[in-house]
């Protein structure tokens, strides 16, 4: 483990200023991901700027009925927040489906969104990995990839500098993607708002970059817009054991029903891609159509038509198809009862 400096600022702008001059520095949230990666030699920052309690730890009402979540709100507190549970059940469910009680106490909202992939070649510095060591190739495509991406990945073979089939591991991010949240970011040049749709990127030809944030940009809050029908929403996570495992497949969904018809619907998938995956093909297929199991299944299949699985993660395609169908079916059944 390499030596590093530890710094604290008195306000967010001070933290941004501290990191601006430090190309190898990093913000430290709860440290539940970053410190692990430092121990493994995967992350080698020379300065840590502690922001765990620096940005807001509050959840505030927005004028439109939405919520502003401070980046420093611990995952556990956010899951327990009454307004979150009432207005956005899928968000609370996503948080509670992640990690463990201890980790959720420690982990921050901002840090959760920026946690890195669990790909075992990324976390092992002796292995090739384009994300950790650009140009070194991708160990996972010919190795262990059972829980890696089937949608939106780049696979030009193990030697290519572009190849990456990593998944983004956050559950929270999937729920926020379904809710069209906005991420508020403070940089050296001031504040900006990044839609969740644009925060995480697909690997494209540069797997080293997980997000569109520039170095030193600090997440200060997340705005979740009002969505009255999100009271009927769900987060369903399939994992290898009953708790404390990352998603094989997860579905964040909300649906607005008009009798037997789908007026509007939101579906996002986790465990499937380099970014939380918004199932727009399925949403488009469903909007205005009947809220039936057949329609849900057909929409799910249409969404998964783009999947390009490898041998060991092909199961994710039928699993995701089933789980989209099932989650929508549960929401519609509940709405009717």
């Amino acid at each position: 483990m390499r030596e590093f400096r530890y710094e604290k600022a008195t306000d967010p702008a001070g933290a941004v200023a501290l990191l601006a001059g430090e190309p190898e520095g990093a913000y430290l949230g709860g440290g539940t991901n970053l410190v692990d990666l430092m121990r493994l030699g995967v992350a080698t920052p020379d300065v840590l700027v502690d922001v765990r309690t620096l940005t807001s730890t509050e959840v505030e009402d927005l004028p439109d009925g939405g919520l502003r979540i401070g980046a420093a709100v611990p995952n556990a507190d956010l899951a327990a927040e009454r307004r979150v549970r009432e207005r956005y059940p899928l968000l609370a469910q996503a948080l509670l489906a992640g990690a463990s009680g201890q980790l959720r106490n420690r982990a921050t909202t901002g840090g959760n969104l920026l946690q890195r992939t669990r790909c075992t070649y990324f976390t092992d510095t002796t292995m090739p990995c384009n994300k950790r060591a650009p140009g070194s190739g991708c160990g996972a495509v010919t190795g262990l990839h059972r829980n890696l991406a089937v949608l939106g990945a780049t696979d030009e073979g193990p030697e290519s500098a572009h190849t990456c089939i990593a998944t983004h591991p956050s559950d929270l991010a999937v729920a926020l993607r379904a809710l069209d949240a906005q991420v508020r970011v403070l940089g050296a040049g001031g504040e900006r708002s990044v839609p969740m749709a644009e925060l995480h990127r697909l690997p494209g030809d540069d797997p080293s970059r997980d997000t569109t944030l520039a170095h030193g940009e600090l997440i200060t809050a997340i705005d979740v817009p009002a969505l009255p029908w999100a009271t009927r929403s769900r987060y369903r996570k399939v994992r290898d054991r009953a708790s404390y495992a990352f998603a094989l497949v997860s579905v964040a969904a909300a649906m607005d029903l008009d009798g037997g018809c789908v007026r509007d619907v939101r579906i996002a998938l986790g465990g499937m891609a380099h970014a939380p995956w918004r199932a727009t093909v399925a949403e488009d297929a469903l909007r205005g159509g009947p809220a039936t199991e057949e329609a849900f299944a057909a929409a799910a299949e249409a969404e998964l038509a783009a999947a390009r699985p490898l041998a060991d993660n092909a199961f994710k395609v039928p699993m995701a198809t089933n789980m989209i169908t099932r989650t929508l079916l549960q929401i519609s059944t509940e709405a009717r009862s």
């Binding site: 483990m1 390499r2 030596e3 030699g41 669990r118 075992t120 070649y121 976390t123 092992d124 002796t126 292995m127 160990g139 010919t142 190795g143 262990l144 059972r146 399939v238 994992r239 290898d240 054991r241 009953a242 708790s243 404390y244 495992a245 990352f246 094989l248 497949v249 092909a314 199961f315 039928p318 699993m319 089933n322 789980m323 169908t325 099932r326």
Partner: protein
């Protein structure tokens, strides 16, 4: 505990060291010599699976301030004549990914790790050969199996009997590589006091290590002192000497300091063993009434290039059921993998998974209830050794278990029970584990007015052995528990067998009884009296077949959309001899069953065929059952006392709980879904395969 008349054996005595453990006052190996200004070791590990080191440059590492030494094969102290797998840092050859190729000793562990990353190693390497298949042309028959079992056993004409059988099954099961993963990482603190090597070490019995470490460093047993007062789990991974213990001794020698070596969780996946993967072909032939006519169990498993570890996978098949024609075989492939080792019930765990799954498949073919099929094939004597059982209560375990679980009236049809989106099924499997005792000695010092000092180099790896032995000693000496001062886990105490093979209580207990016998009816002089006693395998080993037995019942639920598997309840009934301490015994059965559940549903280490490494080498990616996976566990044992085997009448309980548990779950999975998964673990993806 003041009454002297009450027997301690059989009563619920809470773990004696429990209060110290929960207060953090029970020191584990790494926590010794805190004030000693110890120095720390970080390992550099090979990144290739087979090859040679052609150059090793440690200049950059040596230059890091705080680094005291960098040991490589070029300059590390030479070790004595130890087995090949322990010749660490002795030559340029590399035989598996993760093999230590250098060790950095530094003032802090952070500096040691930083410097280790700066050691440059160049290799000449070849493609790894790590994939086990049943049709490899280089499979070979080892001379014998672990624990001295014969490699093969053949009685009668199995092929003819199978061909003639009116009903038969011919099925192949596989189990993956699994890792022991005790909570406490392997750790050694070592220091040379002149020519005496002092070690505080996490192991399953200090005496187990003495022959190898004395040979390695060219010292006598008197020049070695190993203690391991508290050990945070082992499951077999701490039974034998591993390379880190030798590196600790070498580093202490080179630096003249107290050295601490603690493996990382990742290193525990390569340096302290694993359970071999297995490929097991089972063929069973039967009459329409269920009478078995032939049993064939052929096992293929792996070992490493530098060690032969021949797991005794099919040996339980030699005694479970009656059948005139029977065969078991074991074949090994030598692969570019780290050396395997023992992991809770080596042999029985993978072997009984396969046998008990095949028996279930046969029951389905026959249309006979699987409990009933087992009852119909109960052998009166050991079917291969042709000797009587000392005690065998499998039938009682099955019938008692069936009753407790509510087995009667079970609809045998698969895939027909639904509860909402869950598919529901039930399954059964039998369990067995050999009863043995190993040579052990104990010493008792009696001084009037003081507690008896009872000394034996036994080991408590978290099982409660310390408490159980105190109970045994108290009864033998006819005193309350607080009049026994038990001393264990020290190589300078009377020699005892290690904590392994479920032999602790059956080996150490009788040695204490023998010592207490020496004291009986003797007047203790004012200056005190010291007596010794010993115990070891006797005639019973030849003349009787001694085993614990058990039965597992499981309910399994499978989500019809996701393939997720849940086990809401299990019943385990065991006939395992006299139970010394019900509380700690229950924990052993419970832990065994939980580990069996974990094996059924979660545990697998994935070998990367192209690179030769274990790819999921941490606890985030190597899954063991979480609390939420463990449902209601109904644990029960029968009143059984086996004094034909040993004077305590005990059998050993550390391992039988895991044996067969995975088969019960697999069989219930089939009953729930109609799908027979023959490759463990049964993860959700299997549902879509």
């Amino acid at each position: 505990m003041t009454a002297t008349t009450e027997r301690a054996v059989g009563s619920d005595v809470r773990r004696l060291e429990g209060p110290d453990k929960v207060r953090g006052r029970a020191p584990y190996a790494y926590e010794h010599e805190l004030g000693a200004q110890a120095v720390f070791v970080a390992l550099v590990q090979s990144t290739v699976a087979r090859g040679r080191i052609t150059a090793i440059d440690s200049a950059a590492a040596t230059a890091v301030p705080g680094v005291l030494a960098v040991l490589t094969h070029e300059d590390a102290p030479r070790l004595g004549d130890v087995v090949e797998e322990l010749r660490v840092l002795q030559g340029p050859q590399v035989q598996y990914v993760g093999e230590p190729v250098a060790a950095v000793v530094a003032e802090t562990s952070e500096v040691a790790r930083d410097a280790a990353a700066r050691v440059q190693v160049t290799y000449e390497s070849g493609a790894p050969d790590v994939v086990l298949t049943a049709d490899r042309t280089d499979l070979y028959a080892p001379e014998q199996l672990m624990a001295g079992f014969e490699t093969d056993s053949v009685i009668g004409d199995v092929d003819t009997a199978l061909a003639a059988a009116p009903v038969s099954v011919d099925v192949t099961y596989t189990t993956p590589v699994q890792h022991n993963n005790p909570i406490e990482m392997h750790a050694t603190v070592a220091r040379w006091d002149g020519d005496v090597l002092r070690m505080w070490d996490a192991n399953q019995g200090p005496h187990n290590l003495v022959p190898v470490i004395t040979e390695a460093f060219g010292i006598t047993a008197d020049q070695l002192h190993i203690t391991s007062p508290h050990v945070g789990g082992a499951f077999g991974s701490k039974a034998f000497t591993h390379v880190h213990q030798l590196i600790a001794g070498m580093a202490a020698k080179v630096t003249g300091r107290t050295v601490k070596v603690e493996l990382t969780r990742q290193q525990m996946f390569t340096l302290v063993g694993h359970r071999t993967p297995t490929i097991q072909r089972l063929r069973l032939g039967a009459q329409p009434d269920g009478t078995l006519t032939a049993i064939s169990h052929e096992v293929v498993e792996h070992t490493s290039q530098n060690a032969e570890f021949a797991e005794q996978t099919a040996t339980a098949t030699r005694l479970m059921y009656a059948a005139p024609a029977r065969r078991t075989t074991h074949r090994l492939a030598r692969l570019d993998v780290p050396p395997p080792t023992i992991m809770r019930a080596p042999g029985e765990t993978p072997g009984m998974y396969a046998l008990e799954s095949a028996v279930d498949e046969l029951a389905v073919e026959l249309g006979i209830d699987p409990v009933e099929l087992r009852l119909r094939n109960e052998p009166a004597r050991d079917p291969e050794r042709d000797v009587p059982w000392s005690t065998r209560n499998l039938v009682a375990c099955l019938t008692e278990g069936a009753q407790r679980f509510g087995w009667a009236g079970r609809d045998p049809r698969p895939g027909v029970r639904e509860d909402g989106r869950w598919l529901v099924g039930t399954g059964v499997a039998a369990a067995t584990y050999p009863t043995r005792r190993r040579p052990s000695e104990a010493r008792i010092q009696a001084v009037p007015g003081q507690p008896y000092v009872v000394s034996i180099d036994a080991s408590d790896i978290g099982t409660g052995a310390r408490t159980a032995l105190t109970q045994i000693a108290a009864d033998a000496l006819r005193v309350p528990l607080d009049q026994v001062d038990l001393r264990i886990a020290d190589s300078r105490l009377p020699k005892a067998s290690g904590a392994g093979g479920s032999t602790g209580i059956t080996s150490w207990g009788p040695a204490i009884l023998a010592a207490a016998d020496e004291l009986r009816d003797r007047e203790v002089p004012p200056g005190g009296l010291t007596v010794t006693g010993s115990s070891g395998p006797g005639e019973e080993a030849e003349q009787l077949s001694s085993h614990a037995f058990g039965a597992h019942f499981a309910e399994v639920r499978v989500d019809r959309d996701s393939g997720e598997v849940r086990v809401p309840r299990m019943t385990g009934v065991f006939a395992a001899g006299r139970i010394i301490n019900p509380v700690t015994a229950r924990s052993q059965f419970l832990g065994g069953m939980t580990m069996g559940l974990s094996m059924a549903l979660h545990e697998q280490t994935v070998l990367d065929a192209g690179r030769g490494h274990f790819a999921n080498h941490d606890l985030a990616e190597y899954h063991v059952a979480a609390h939420a996976d463990v449902g209601a566990m109904d644990i029960h044992w029968l009143d059984e006392v086996d004094e034909a085997h040993n004077p305590l009448g005990a059998k050993g309980i550390g391992e039988i709980g895991i044996v067969g548990a995975a088969a019960a779950i697999g069989n219930a999975y089939w009953h729930a879904t109609g799908r027979r998964v023959r490759d463990l673990p049964i993860t959700p993806d299997r549902y879509f395969g």
